[in-house]
Symmetry: C2
Amino acid sequence: MTPSTTDPVAIIGASGALGFGLAVRLARAGVPIAIGSRDAGRAQETAERASAAIPAGSFSAHDNAGAARAAGTVVLSVPFRNHSETLANLKDALTPGQLLIDATVPLAAAVSGKATRMLGVWQGSAAEQALEMAPEGVRVVSALHTVSAASLSDLDHPLGQDVLLSGDSREDKRAAAHLLERIDGLRCVDCGRLEMARITESLTALLIAVNSRYKVHAGIHLTDLPDRLWE
Amino acid sequence: MTPSTTDPVAIIGASGALGFGLAVRLARAGVPIAIGSRDAGRAQETAERASAAIPAGSFSAHDNAGAARAAGTVVLSVPFRNHSETLANLKDALTPGQLLIDATVPLAAAVSGKATRMLGVWQGSAAEQALEMAPEGVRVVSALHTVSAASLSDLDHPLGQDVLLSGDSREDKRAAAHLLERIDGLRCVDCGRLEMARITESLTALLIAVNSRYKVHAGIHLTDLPDRLWE
């Protein structure tokens, strides 16, 4: 169930800052990337930009549904404003057994509020909304809310930070960790069940407040953890 | 407004694990501690235990109101179950200008729920409840939710982690940081307005989930911050 070295990964919302940063970092680690965008033309543009950054990378361009069909692992990285609509449009593209890594954050900015504030999501979190809306059997893991898009996109920037994972299956989290830890400087930490995404998603808002105070792109590192986090 | 080296600090709930750890760590740094407990006898017992741990420390024992009257800075470290009642009882003891550092976390454990889940607090967070209930002019700063009681109490354990502060006044946060950074290995980070306590308080629940997964006492360290956090 763990993606092999050559399995492609689809990134839905790869034209956005986080999605793009993830695409180039993963591609540099040798992962073929299916670039997804609402508009296939925009995806093509993004794939060209990514190729310019990582000439040895493998990028294909698709609309979101096409990208989701092209890979066993799908990263969902869209503004919360488009989260529900995107999932509805992916209903026929996602298939049971696929791993869906949801990086979406319900910031109040989605409704013209502050980016340091969260919206209440009826299901509890964006990730739990994804679990509800994705076809049954799609394996949802929540991740990547604390990794700054700017730091990811700046390929010379050493990351040295954690990715906080939550999900209802340990095996699914291990698969996500195995993939994301291919990016140098990222360590994945198991934060428990998917409902913990209510907390990890809110860390984006917290970091935005810290970033604005100190003019930085902060990340999170948990202290006092054992050396081996994934047996 | 910044507490001087010899100003005492009151700890309300010092018989609890976090309060006690804080008492001995601060005392070791030379801060006189007014130990507060609901029951003055229990406070006496706690003061003796603290003296045994830090023989050179200065500890006085009081009921909660007595402790609050004995210091310009008051740390509130009580179970959320007792938070509102404690603040009601402190109404006549707290005075305008005092700095109230609230470390309380509204875990669902307060109502026999899981310690990895949060309660919804009408005001938004325990800290905002404290601001509403404390006499006007008391300066509320939220802090200390991510520092493990076990690590604090284990005096040989190097801390090496951050304390996330939120509050509506930069000056009040600086005063709290100045105090808390007297504890070796703690770095205070300004996380914005008091409403951000909604997020920082929830980090206790997140860390409890991580601790249970890995059998550790994890803390938090923010990456990519500047060297100087308090001008």
